[in-house]
Amino acid sequence: MAGGKAAQTVPQAAIPMDQLLRCVHCGLCTSACPTYLELGNEADSPRGRLYLMRAVAEGRLEWTADVVGHLDLCLECRACETACPAGVPYGQLLEAARADIARTYRRPWRERLLLALLRDMLFPYPGRLAAALRPVRSLRGALKRLAGLLPGDVRRMLALLPPGAPSACPPLPSVIPAQGLRRYRVALLTGCVAQVLFPEVNWATARVLAANGCEVVVPARQGCCGALHLHSGAREAARAFARRNVAAFDLDDVDAVITNAAGCGSTLKEYGHLLQDDAAASQAARFAGKVRDVAEFLAGIGIVPPAQPVHRVVAYHDACHLAHGQGIRSEPRQLLRAIPGLRLVELPGADHCCGSAGLYNILQPAMAARLLEKKIAAIASTGADTVATGNPGCLMQIAKGLRERGLAVDVRHPVELLAEAYGFSRAGDLSTGDDSSTRGARAGA
């Protein structure tokens, strides 16, 4: 039952009231919200959360532990934006509210420590992440035996790591030439988590783009997109990352900025909004205008029909930040359907969140586990041997769920399947030294 912590004052204008007022309280978003469907509490629905934000903005409530708790439980999956007829920019409002919370509400030390460690020190920096993971992975066996002694947060992070040795893909070269006639020149965002944990996805992306006449450049000075910061209220840090990226890409030189991570893509596309009052505002808006998800871009230019059959039954899971965040639903399916031999089956509730949601599965393990369980059950019901999804967080989360259930289902990014269909085997052709560690399938590995 509810109790309150010491309240803190909130500057009135921190959450844009005009945007909050767009919510007409119709409730059409409630049935789209994963946390509401699980808990049934209005305060854990989009409408309820907006109501709480508004109550704080109007001074009827303050940021107390329970109010903040309802906002923390939000996945920022933005399914509510898809459902909302009034066009309430829920994601932006939540980000504003979270920034306000970060400014004015003092979290318990444990939460602060975890955020500082993961969000501020580790995840955005591929070098550090890789360095941190190396001993973890080689000591996995030992750590497993020690599992009982480790704090829950650490255990949950370990459970997310793909089994087996880390992939030995070399880093991408700075330019990958187009195969055949060059039709486009594109820049690739390599991501931070993806780069370390799924280097083969970046390779597959580059290969598939090249196979479709794209010269791919990999700007050296790019960094984290800032999504984790933006979603957890560290707006200034997110803006710093955005500025750095805007400067790192030579926009005159490329037709598009490509990402294969849904979460990064939806943040990159919002750089214009994020930096609207910044010196780099117009550059940021231009940058945002050039960002394309890899599936969106490929479907847009029309792909060279792949020749190599890929005999798989594939269920496609819509990453929230593709489907709800960027409205990209048909494109990945269209690409998968173009692969000979591949049978695409409909996944029930394909666009329901899997519970990954950035750092959510570490910070909100109970809800994340409930959503993952549903997702895995839905996957199992399709009889598919492969799940395809366009976001590294979902790849990790779903693979973990499948491992835990002992299901032999592969988890792949759609571009990996396309790469296979273009004849790049995971074993060697993707890069020179890929050792092809498999994800997902190895139950109990």
Partner: protein, 480 residues
């Protein structure tokens, strides 16, 4: 943070024992979100909200509250447009949101058994692969619950042909306001004895809380044709409606949207409505494939005869889906035009639609309000939507006056103050104008049989019986 009087620690502890402490919500921040539903002109936070997980828990919760003399209000998704779930200040909200399982789909007998918190659209979604659907399709069907549909006897575009909720409910399990559980109706049609299912359907939660519902599944029609007719005058559109009905054609749906609505839904969904049209009609005919084209053509001819400037047919299922989504989410889309709105729900004889629309426009002018119109033209059920800014108390007052005038006009024309949204808290004051004291007394007698102490959803539907205070409390405008 202390619970209000009446609901003391002992009662709360009992409730927590029944549903689990995490499902008993008390304290400002927890109850605030329950202070209104889809109707936001009035607000009142409950003393507490409980979220039972089963029918047995509902019954136990009700028993405890009944024994303690604490009023309670059932709530589904909270999409009511008439404030049916707005509680008196000392009441407990009983939310059925956790009871959202489809218990049984029985295609051979064409029925489904569901819990009250099941979302309307889920039933058709689950039944579709077998070629069945649940026919009543209120505009909020993507979110509203079957329990709430039973409460308000919900309608929807397709009820013109298929009937409203009551025609599709075979039986319910009802927790009476004293906590007893009764089964009404059942799988067999036309049971002997009183038709209590009919009585409970539309009773707005004043006779008890429905905890299980047996609904009818109907076969999906073999085919359908969906037309969009564009008009340069609202009059022409309404004359078309009368023309179609007079010809004896019963379309599955016959819906009208006026210019303001077209602007909003076009911005929201980009269907491709012409932004300068005065009105559009959505006309759908369905049934056996044979003859459908002729029926569609007959409707098209009537449109043309009434100066439709353009006629389109949904070419694909995807186009039809988008057209219907645009129509069904029209209310919400109006949120793009103003911070708040109130949706009225009047009924007039179909022949008086043009007159009623003209009057609505005049009322809008008189009070300086923008009023949008989207409605089920086929059955004369109008939904004037009054746009306003809830931070402007003067505008709020004008909205209330204009609403009252619109509803009074409906009564004067021989219609009704609600077609499908229910009376709720909003239209209580109009009941005296619609019914004689004797009529009302008869209804209140019925309520007294089920709900003698008036604990179950007090203050709804009826004007103060014998001075029941809660219905007389003045309208409390939204906080500025």
């Amino acid at each position: 943070m202390r619970p209000r009087a009446g609901l003391d620690g002992r009662v709360l502890a009992r409730l927590a024992e029944i549903v689990g402490p995490e499902h008993v919500l008390v304290g400002n921040s927890a109850t605030l979100v329950y202070e209104c539903d889809g109707f936001t002109l009035e607000r009142q936070a409950p003393a507490a909200a409980v979220l039972p997980g089963s029918a047995a828990e509902v019954a136990q919760v009700v028993r405890v509250l009944h024994a303690a003399g604490i009023p309670f209000v059932p709530r589904g998704a909270g999409t009511s447009l008439s404030g049916t779930t707005i509680p008196p200040h000392d009441a407990v909200i009983i939310s059925l949101a956790r009871m959202n399982r489809i218990l049984h789909l029985d295609f051979r007998n064409r029925r489904a058994v569901v819990e009250p918190g099941v979302v309307n659209a889920w039933i058709s979604r689950e039944a579709a692969p077998r070629g069945y659907l649940y026919a009543p399709d209120p505009s909020s069907q993507a979110a509203c619950t079957i329990g709430g549909n039973v409460g308000t006897n919900a309608g929807g575009p397709h009820t013109l042909k298929y009937g409203v909720t009551v025609n599709h409910i075979l039986g319910v399990e009802l927790v009476l306001p004293d906590g007893q559980v009764v089964e009404l109706g059942g799988p067999v049609e036309d049971l002997p004895g009183y038709d209590l299912v009919g009585l409970v359907t539309g009773s707005e939660g004043t006779l008890g809380i429905v905890t299980k519902i047996v609904v009818r599944l109907v076969r999906e029609p073999e085919g359908c044709r969906t037309l969009l007719a564009v008009f340069d005058s609202v009059d022409d559109a309404t004359r078309t409606v009368s023309g179609i009905i007079e010809q004896g054609i019963i379309p599955a749906a016959l819906e009208m949207m006026d210019n303001l609505v077209i602007q909003a839904v076009e911005e929201a969904f980009g269907f491709g409505f012409p932004l300068d049209a005065a009105a559009v009609l959505i006309i759908e005919v369905d049934g056996l494939e044979v003859g459908l084209d002729e029926q569609a053509e007959a409707c098209a001819a009537i449109c043309r005869a009434n100066r439709a400037r353009e006629l389109r047919t949904a070419a694909t299922e995807e186009e039809r889906r988008l057209l219907w989504m645009s129509r069904k989410k029209a209310f919400g889309a109006l949120g793009r035009l103003a911070p708040s709105y109130v949706t009225q729900d009047g009924v007039v004889p179909r022949t008086r639609l043009p007159e009623m629309l003209a009057l609505t426009a005049e009322i809008g002018r008189k009070y300086g309000l923008r009023i949008a119109n989207v409605f089920h033209a086929g059955d004369g059920n109008i939904h004037p939507i009054l746009l306003y800014d809830e931070r402007n108390p003067d505008e709020v007052r004008r909205v209330i006056q204009a609403s009252d005038e619109i509803l009074s006009a409906c009564i004067d024309m021989g219609g009704s103050i609600t077609g499908e949204h229910g009376v709720g808290i909003e239209k209580v004051s109009h009941m005296r104008r619609m019914f004689s004291e004797a009529d009302l007394a008869a209804m209140l007698d019925v309520r007294a049989v089920f709900n003698p102490r008036g604990l179950c959803n007090p203050g709804k539907i009826f004007p103060s019986p014998g001075g029941c205070v809660e219905v007389q409390r003045p309208r409390r405008p939204a906080p500025a």
